[in-house]
Symmetry: C2
Subunit: 326 residues, 2 copies
DNA sequence: CTGAAAGCGCTAACAT
DNA sequence: ATGTTAGCGCTTTCAG
């Protein structure tokens, strides 16, 4: 048994196999443009297995100048099963390309992200929202090869307009299809969500414009029934149906309407588990998060390859789940 | 302007400051047991700032043998605001100790985790559930200094018995306090949740035993109203109140009872946003996730320091939020 | 108090 | 076809 305290290095494997480090390195990375006899290959592989050798990432990264870590900066807004599936699929796709996906929930707007980049020196960083100029500058400084929303322009979100305004558009279209002409768009007062909320509301506005209808009235509510009720009574008779930023807001709205003794059609977004148990069961816009994850991962791979990211998602990834609330 | 293609190294800083790399390293890490004149310190610091120098983690890790990354393996069960707050606080505490927290949502039971460890070679790995023997073995092989549930024994969960069975116990005690003597414990059929579900159900069983009551009947339901309704009618008159594994299950139960035309008190767990908008508003067990995060982080720091992890959480981190469902 | 120099484990160019 | 070797950027003795 080797010294219990020391890490097993490629030198150990070389010794065990009776070869040199170079050869070991070649077969372990099956470096292209080398002709290694199958017999030698096997010797190395078996020696490595016998010793339980694992390459040491920091050394490998230092030498080769590229790490195989891809960092996915998750937003700190509540994450549902949605996000989990998305991350999963993305991890799978990236894994096939030899990248290891690390997720990081970024909460504060402190500069914690900066430390992250230098701590990981990832091969790629991607997030669901545009990075700030400062963040981009920081990444440039530490030479991160690929960054996914590559610009701080709002339009460049991952999933492009679909993930954001596309959901709002679909919500509004659904309601319009049901014959409604005066809509409300309800967003939560959580400041973290305001950008996304605005984006989705704009999508709804577009749908209204396309149909020749007036813009939806945008209401901001606190996440309690009272605040929702206020908004509802505020609409008086001018609004006949409401889109909610997400299912939680929709649930709040439903509760508010119960309190206010009114009852308007409501459509949510995300299809959280609680949606189907609402009273009435919530009609909502669901997204195929697995497909979105795959899409994002492929976009990232494209960026790493210096190609056009082609962020736009296929419209098929979002669809409405019709239940009873609208 | 320096060569745009090259990374800025400590050599550059040394040159800029007119000193040697050694000195630069000393001040940048303010190595103990060194007396550096304030003037030199400032020269180095300013040169570093001017150049926008960032230490290169892989090199640092390679040399020092320890990385400053702590890896938090998140379970793939739905993550709410709860988890976000927990991670946040943990990141903060670890950050103060010079560690960078990376979260990783681990979904499959594939061996993706193994690759992660070698890709990051973190200083510490911790998770919310015990690692499997295989996982622990893998970590031992790559010499990860600290692993938080250190054993694969179920009792060793982070948060010890509190996070798991403590919640169940509190739910049952609350219902018992309301005069109920025949309880049900409802768990979802999601296999990923079965361990946790069993744990919480056991906590409830303990509370019943302490009160000299019979064990709760444990019902497994699919996450739809129909399945919940079946469970409810199955209880007939033998059960007078129910604990749910979490709020989503509680919501399903409420929907099931509406469908079955019955109405029993129900208590959930987690206090998700949707809970307060349920019909009736859901009584639930909430947890102070920030405090839990801090606790976990400190336990990890203790392990890194070769001390006893002392995982047990203070009882104060969980409490019931009384609303109308029970 | 500061500078020079030896590696950490690995890959890749260069020898053999 | 395999072996040798020069660093990647950093920390850390050891001299001066």
């Amino acid at each position: 048994m080797a010294d219990k305290k020391r890490r097993i290095t490629s030198v150990d494997v070389a010794r065990e196999a009776g070869l040199s480090r170079g050869t070991v390195s070649f077969v372990l990375n099956n470096t292209p443009g080398q002709s290694i006899p199958e017999a030698t290959r096997q010797r190395v592989l078996q020696a490595a297995a016998r010793l339980g050798y694992t390459p040491y990432a920091p050394a490998r990264t230092l030498r080769s100048g590229r790490s195989d870590v891809a960092l996915f900066v998750l937003p700190d807004w509540p994450q549902g099963p949605t996000m989990a599936a998305l991350v999963d699929r993305a991890a799978q796709v990236l894994g096939e390309a030899g990248l290891t996906l690390i997720t990081h929930v970024h909460a504060g707007h402190d500069d914690g992200l900066m430390k992250l980049w230098s701590a990981l020196s990832p091969a790629a960083v991607f997030g669901m929202r545009p990075f700030t100029g400062e963040e981009l500058e920081g990444m440039r400084r530490v030479r991160i090869p690929a960054v996914l929303p590559p610009s701080e322009q709002p339009g460049y979100d991952i999933g492009g307009s679909l993930w954001i305004s596309g959901v709002g558009r679909l919500q509004a279209r659904y309601l319009i299809g049901k014959g409604h002409e005066r809509l409300a768009y309800v967003v939560p007062d959580d400041p973290r969500l305001s950008a996304l909320g605005r984006g989705r509301a704009e999508g709804a506005a577009q749908a209204c414009a396309e149909a020749g209808l007036p813009e939806p009235v945008v209401s901001t509510i606190a996440m309690d029934a009272g605040s929702a009720a206020e908004a509802v009574v505020g609409w008086e008779a001018t609004v006949t149906a409401a889109c909610a930023y997400n299912d939680e807001v929709a649930l709040a709205l439903l509760a508010g309407m119960r309190a206010a003794g009114s009852s308007l059609p409501v459509i949510g977004a995300d299809d959280i588990p609680a949606a189907r148990f609402a009273v009435p069961p919530l009609t909502t816009v669901a997204q195929d998060s697995g497909e979105i994850g795959e899409h994002i991962a492929r976009a990232l791979l494209r960026v790493l390859n210096d190609e056009d990211p082609a962020l736009e998602l296929p419209a098929s990834v979002i669809h409405v789940v019709e239940r009873e609330s609208a």
